[in-house]
Each structure stands twice: as structure tokens, then as C-alpha cells.
Symmetry: C2
Subunit: 340 residues, 2 copies
């Protein structure tokens, strides 16, 4: 018996064929067809699935089903409310893809499904509860409790990138609010923070320093009394350049990393009080900064965490872009085992 | 068929006999025997249960079991790690109370069990996911997802009173950290905030006002340019007096309520991003302030909540001190239905 894991992204659709143990037999991808508001996407996925089944001589009775991650909120009945990146409005992905393939389809939000993948075969392997924090262009998240995704009443479970962090932020987040975690701890946020500090010359203003904790205030003071930053000559500025500058001891780079570590440490300490997971798994492009970023996250987490949660494990994501297909496989395997 | 719900508190032990629908047949309580580090508690509960069974002519085969809320963290194997209030160290409450009664015992943390009670027959009735916020001497919490308590890996699930809220707090919370939600939004916290504002004379300092959002800063400014507070002559100061003063238009009272509303609104907006519950149920003695407090909580929640969670319902707890016994009943009924 086998199953398929599918991860629908704005650029490409990743697919994998797995056995019941979750071993990846084969993976491949196709470009996402954004024509006509993405209306060809499901039929193209169905064609790919049928091709692989015939290539491997697999009958319908040998396939448990298809688990699919989609870039938008998914209701418990399998209806997708809106996927801006691929042009979808309301789509009953479960019903439509089942009709096209004759196979059971279980959909989930892509960030949540990727978290499930990391729990299954990645950084959270062996655990039952986990929070995945994905630091990419934005900040994504996925919460797993007792091996199950926390989707939330309106599909907004795990939206930790929109934790309200700063009361006096002046710029607006993509979501419309001000002061969201994503405005600081994403690749975009890192560039934004570095630009702000560079533009101010002397760095953070007094109100900001006062609003932060003592350790952070100290780091800022120290940073901005030193010589000007190597990042001043860096154009266009990228998160990677800021992180590399921090690695070389640049004062602005280090100050940004310290602030991001404080934000994430605080957000994770809050999550730990709420759901007390076994492990935090950190992934996404920004997480490639490694210990330079993980150390300040852990230090700040430790300072703010409730005593019963101080020993929460930290791990890095190991599946990279394959997390979504592993999670898709796990999603449909669990549904099958539950007899759905 | 029937079951018992038991709620072990530091002063009294509440008990209830329920039918399978969760209707309360009879309730009663006994004082908590704190002698010899609480070692008589379980045998006294067992005696009470046996008495009621014989009074109602109930055999062991007619009783599903006993659900028990205890004031400490409970591991998934039914072992209680520490209950400071009743003198317990490590107690295998499941094993011990089962041996004493011959009935199935399912224990849980008291705040979590009370939340389950409110979901079962109280303010969260009809919902499957809920966050209960109990504003009493401290701030307690309970998170329910898909009808099940989120206990957490170390029994610290739902400890929302220890959300890290303020980075520059100077006083220490009972948990050892500084700046926890409980230091502001509990009865103790309300008195503390009022005293601080009264002692400062002109109210909040500049750093504090800057650190808060615009609406709050405005409220503070307004408050502290007005005449001095009626609370100055109130000794000893109680949370009730602060709330009553706010109701009569007292500037300090209103300023405290506004700050508490901001804290809780922010904490709930954060929780909504994480788990996106159907409903927030607010209980505890402080919640008797009613709309005076609920309105600023909702206003601040609405300003900070992620768009997908803005329509989360707010409800008040309706079971009062009986929430624990209802939750105990639900806990053991669910375990029985799951065939445990």
C-alpha cells in the first residue's frame, strides 16, 4: 500500500509517493499553472498522480489516498476559503480532487502540513506535540498536539507570525495590523530593522530601548556607540547580508539579530505557557543563520519561559522543501488509520 | 449509569454525582484535611463516594468512574507532581484512589478541568475549542481543542497567567519571572497597579505610556491630569474597590481597568493566532466587573487580533465554583466513551 503527498506552492507543486511507513519512494515537481485563476491546478495534479500509478503499476486499491498542503486556510469539511498566491477563491479541493482521481483526498494548510511532516520524519521526530516556526519571507507556524494539526475554528491555527508584539509600531504588516512578529523575525523584517537602524544613525530611539528588556537595551546602547556599520555600503540589503555582517561582528547586524532573538524567544515563551509542546522546530531560510540566531532565541526563551516549560527542546527542521510532501503523506495515512 | 466529579481545593473538596448526560443529581463538599501533608485527602474522598453510593443504592457496575481536578500539574500517567496548596509531593492519585474505591479514576489539573466543565455545561457549551481565562487571586487558564484538554508535555498547558507581557517590570511574580500577565490582570494585580498609580501621584511614568499603545497612553494622560482619586482614602485596597471606583468614574480606577483590558486583549489576540478557538470564556471573581472589564478586553482584542480570528466569541463563565465538578464528570465520561 502507498500514498501520495502533495504540496501546492505559488511557483511549483511538489509531489511524493510514499509507502505506509512514510518512506519516500519517489519525488518530483511541476510548475504551478497560474492561468485562469489556477483552475487547471487540480486536473494537472490528477494527471500526474495517474501517470505515476500507471508507471508503477499501482491500482486504486493499493493507494490509501492523497494528502495535500494548500497555501490558504482549509475548513474541516475540506473547503479552501482563499489562496491568494495561486488565484483560488472558494474551492472544495477534497471533493474536486477526489472526483478527478477516484482517491481519498485530505487537505490541510501548507504551513501546518509541513509542521506535521517535520514531526513525522524531521526535526520533531519521536515527539507528539510540537510548534514549528518557519522563518522565511514571512513567519509561518504549525502547531501539533497529540500528533494532530491544530487548524483552529477558522483555519487560523498556528498563525504565529501575527502574534501582536509591539504596541507602538508605525509600519503596517501584510495582514493589516501593526507590530506583528513577522514584521521583525522574517527575512523581510530583518532587512526592515537593519534599514531603520542604519537610517537612524545612532540606532534605536529611547522609547524603543525602554520598551525592551534590560539585556536588549544594553545590546542596543553598545551597538550604537561604536563605529558605523559595514551594511551602509550594502545595496540592495538582504537578510543574508545582515546575518553575515552579524557573524563578522558588525554592530548593526548583531543588534538586529539580538532583537529578532528577543522577539522569537518571547513568542516561544508565550506559546510554551499556552500549549507546553515537547519541542520547537525552527525552519525556513532565515534559520540557516544557525547558532548565531538560535542562541539568542534560546537565551531569551529561557529568561522569559514559565518554570514548567524551561526544558522545552529546540531543534532545527531537517526536511527543507520536502516537509510538505512528508506531511501530506502523514495526513492521509492518519485519516486512513482513523478509518475516515 | 452515573459518575462522580471531584474538585480538590486548598480549603474544600467539592463533589458531585452526575448521570451520563451530565445532569447534576447531587452536590456537596467537605473541608480539605491538610493534616500530615494532605495524606488523608484521598481516603476521605473515597469514604464520601462510598457513602453516596450506598445512600443511592448504587453498585460499582453502575458507576463509570471518578473525574478529579487537582491543584497542580498532572502527568498523562495520572501522577501528580506537586500540589503546594494541599501539601502533596509526588502522588499517584489515579492508582491510589482506584485502590481505595474500586472505581476508574481520571485526574486532571483543576484549572483545565474547570475549563472542560464550562465547555460541557457552561459558557462554552456547544463549542469544541475554547480558551478559559479565570481572573481570580491569580490568572488561571484552560485550553480545550477538539473537546480535549491541552495538558502540555509537562502539565503546563493553559498556564496563560504566566505569559511574558512586560519586559521592564521590576517586581517578581509568584513563579519567579517578571512581567507575567498575572501581575496585572488578577485581583492581586489590580490592587498592585492601583497602588503604583496612587503612589506615583501623577500616574504612569513616561516610559510606561510610550511602551503601551496609543489608546492606552491617551487614557493614562487623561486620567492623570484630572483630580486625585477616591481610592486614596480606601484602605486596605481591594480589587473590588478599584472596580467600583472605575464604575463611578474614578480616574485611577478607570486607568487600571484600561490597562488590564489592554493586557488581556493582547494575550487573547496572541492565543487566537496560536490556536484560533471558537470561544473565550472569562470567569473568576474579577470577571464580576462585567462589561466594565469585558468591553476594554474586546476592544483591545479586536485592535490586535489577526483578521481570521476577529470574530472569536466572548462569553462569561456560568458555572462558578461548580465548573470543576462538571469538568470532572466530563473527563471520566469521555475516558469511558473512548473505552479507556
Amino acid at each position: 500500500m502507498y500514498c501520495f503527498g502533495v504540496d501546492i506552492g505559488g511557483t511549483s507543486i511538489k509531489m511524493g509517493l510514499f509507502n505506509l511507513e512514510g518512506d519516500l519512494i519517489e519525488k518530483w515537481d511541476i510548475p504551478t499553472n497560474l492561468d485562469s485563476e489556477g483552475q487547471h491546478i487540480l486536473s494537472e495534479i490528477a494527471d500526474e498522480i495517474k501517470d505515476r500509478m500507471s508507471k508503477h503499476n499501482l491500482g486504486h486499491d493499493e493507494i490509501v489516498g492523497i494528502g495535500v498542503g494548500v497555501p490558504g486556510p482549509v475548513q474541516s469539511n475540506g473547503v479552501v476559503l482563499k489562496c491568494v498566491n495561486i488565484g483560488w477563491g472558494i474551492v472544495n479541493i477534497k471533493e474536486e480532487l477526489e472526483a478527478l482521481t477516484g482517491l481519498t483526498v485530505v487537505p490541510g494548510n501548507d504551513a501546518n502540513v509541513a509542521a506535521l511532516g517535520e514531526l513525522f520524519k524531521g526535526g520533531g521526530s519521536g515527539c507528539h506535540s510540537m510548534v514549528m516556526v518557519t522563518l522565511g519571507t514571512g513567519v509561518g507556524g504549525g502547531i501539533i498536539i497529540d500528533g494532530k494539526i491544530v487548524s483552529g475554528a477558522n483555519g487560523s491555527g498556528g498563525e504565529i507570525g501575527h502574534f501582536p508584539m509591539v504596541g507602538d509600531e508605525e509600519e503596517t504588516c501584510g495582514c493589516g495590523n501593526k507590530g506583528c512578529l513577522e514584521q521583525y523575525a522574517s527575512a523581510t523584517g530583518i532587512v526592515r530593522l537593519a534599514k531603520q537602524m542604519l537610517m537612524k544613525g545612532e540606532g534605536c530611539d529611547e522609547a524603543h530601548v525602554k520598551a525592551c528588556d534590560e539585556a536588549h537595551a544594553k545590546a542596543c546602547d553598545e551597538a550604537h556607540t561604536k563605529a558605523s556599520s559595514s551594511l551602509l555600503s550594502n545595496e540592495p540589503l538582504t537578510a543574508e547580508a545582515v546575518i553575515n555582517a552579524a557573524k563578522s561582528g558588525d554592530v548593526i547586524g548583531q543588534s538586529v539579530v539580538e532583537r529578532v532573538g528577543w522577539m522569537l524567544g518571547k513568542a516561544m515563551a508565550t506559546l510554551a505557557c499556552a500549549i507546553n509542546p515537547e519541542v520547537f522546530v525552527i525552519g525556513g531560510g532565515v534559520s540557516k543563520a544557525g547558532d548565531l540566531l538560535i542562541d539568542p532565541i534560546k537565551r531569551n526563551f529561557d529568561a522569559m519561559a514559565f518554570h514548567g516549560t524551561k526544558h522545552t527542546q529546540f531543534a532545527v527542521a531537517t526536511l527543507g522543501n520536502d516537509a510538505g510532501i512528508y506531511g501530506g503523506a502523514k495526513l492521509v495515512l492518519d485519516a486512513w488509520k482513523d478509518g475516515v
